[in-house]
Amino acid sequence: MCGIAGYFGHPDPSIPRRATVARMVGAIAHRGPDDRGVFVDDNVGLGHARLSIIDVASGAQPMANADGTVHVAFNGEIFNYVELRADLIARGHRFRTESDTEVILHAYEAWGIDCVEAFNGDFAFALWDSRLKRFVAARDRMGVRPFFYAWRDGCLYFASEVKALLEVPGIDAELDPLALDQIFTVWFPIAPRTLFKGVMELPAGHRLIATPDTVNVAPWWRLSFPDAGDSAAHDNRDEHEIADELRFLLLDATRIRLRSDVPVGAYLSGGLDSSIVAAAVHRIQPDRLRTFSVTFEQEEYDESAWQATMVDALGTDHTAVACRSADIGASFPTVVRHVEQPLLRTGPAPMLALSQLAHDQGYKVVLTGEGADEVFGGYDTFKEAAVRRFCARQPGSERRPRLFERLYPYLPGLKRQTGQYRRAFFSAGPEDTTDPLFSHMPRFRTAIGAKIFYSDDMRATLAGYDALADLGAGLPADFGRWHPLHQAQYLETVYLLPGYILSSQGDRVAMANAVEGRFPFLDHRVVTFASRLPPHLKLRGLREKRILRRAMGPLLPPTAAARPKQPYRAPIAQAFVGGGAPDYVGDALSVAAIRHSGHFDPHAVDRLLAKARSRRLAGFRDNSALVGILSTQLWQRQFTRHAGTADDIPAVA
């Protein structure tokens, strides 16, 4: 796990090549504080910041093959490198190191670009093949590890984070209004677009091949589901048989994710998913597992009682970090610097505190429960969509909408509302059940509501641009034939997961403290297995993750196995106003500052801030708007040169 950066082509002669790559690597040194390496030749520059995890002694990068014709800079892990190495040795390959990096080189020699299909792992790498004069970059299936690139004077520059690209003379940060509008619709820019105009993200499961004359970006893997009507394409075995195989798969996915030459810990939120991972580790290795969690002051967000249950049951050595609202406010500029985009939620801030805790305790690697909700149908969005669809089938029914009352039991603000109001909200306007985005429309509507704060200039620039149409246009041709649950799972897994969960709330805030997350539920064998399961084995009625509970429940204390979903959430408005609120908020949201950046209406923002300060902001829309506008301002200040003075943002440790 590390950071990579470099270029392919011929930089402008005025640019010192080795020094530039070294500066790019320096900008992402937090990802790999253990070692640095730079390789430069006529056509390519590869740089690497290393976090030593596997083969600490001899895994230095960039690494070359035996005859020096292929070089690679690699970020991530190939978890099945042990098996691949044995396979390649049987085919006559001779290895010099024990590292997974060398496995990539030999696999490439053996299988060419298709080698990625043999990899079970989380990776982004850049490889230079001097014989074929070919530059290859690839990113893992689910999008765990990042890869950004930009063109400058005909030269392709790449890096794990955009801040490294900004070290290249001539590549400057300029806000792309369409990307901002995508964030204020679906929470993140839709890859390959980023908030930095001209900077692209290689989408998850894609590879890029460049020669001196051509560039080709294409998917090498994609998530798919069977046609709803094709029962033979689903896994029709007995439920217990399916559960047995799933247990085997998840234990194996966990086992290979424990491969490391440094200790591996785990995040334990107290929820079902992280509890399953911790229990799986407990089953595989008898050593006492080191676990970490975050706790909140407000009961509404806090899960410490559930954490205690699992700590007792599994006998883990546990440490928690308390995250107060004021801590979220204080660390937020640092969060924005790492995630490199505006946020509509504060969830990444506590995750930054959590990786700090793991780092302080000497841990570089943690397992987490990320991905289970996407893969096994755990999100409330899925239930909500099922109820909305159920109601739409009989619009006159008085009884059906009462099901809305059973959604979101953990939101105190919703408890007082009648079913009628919830129904009115969840199905505002006529429901189009054939809309491919049907499942996510209530959430998108809430985000879109915050656009009332756009300035007239911003509206004029967007000129009617429709981010949802853009999203819909990228869906696969057979999407419309899938079961509605599978459609909703696809939207979560292909878009929100890499676009937000694994990046802003995952890689970026973990690697900020040199901590690598590993996700057993996102092993592609598990993902593919789950995609063929009949939908009712995932969401049955309003009970989520049925098959997962059946497969892994026996490893957990009964109360934990039966625990209903409580999504991870963090305080918003309280972090930025009221007692203990950080000083920068007033500056960043001042009429002058908002007018200067130009994207929002200064007086409307002023009224929003006044409302937040005068009383608690209760609505999702206003909270989203407050944090979205504030983080856009912080982004602007931190990354763009012309946005005032860079030093009016306080340095936050």
């Binding site: 603000g413 109001y421 704060f453 009224r607 829309r621």
Partner: protein, 97 residues
């Protein structure tokens, strides 16, 4: 001619939910939910405003779109509640419960 109640309701909606001055001319019968002015989670702000400003109590089953989802509906609802509250205060009604 707007009643005092309607004006107070309009001012509150404009100040708390609209933010942008150019949208303060909302139609009396426009659905606040469908227009995206009030979202589901913002309803309780509205309820808190009504209860403190007009000294009325809303029962849970009164928190429904029919009562709260437009300026006209809000005005009519508050007018009715205030009238009920006044007559409930009258001594002659004390035995009615």
């Amino acid at each position: 001619m707007r009643s005092a109640i309607e004006q107070q309701v309009r001012d509150f909606i404009a100040e708390s939910f609209m933010f942008r001055v150019d949208r303060s001319d909302i139609a009396g019968d426009e659905s606040l939910l469908e227009a995206g002015i009030v979202d589901s989670t913002g309803i309780l702000e509205l309820v808190a405003f009504l209860e403190t400003t007009f000294a009325i109590q809303l029962a849970d089953d009164e928190i429904v779109p029919d009562n709260l989802d437009s300026i006209d509906a809000l005005t009519a609802f508050v007018t009715r509640k205030c009238a009920d509250a006044e007559s409930a205060d009258a001594p002659a009604m004390a035995v009615a419960g």
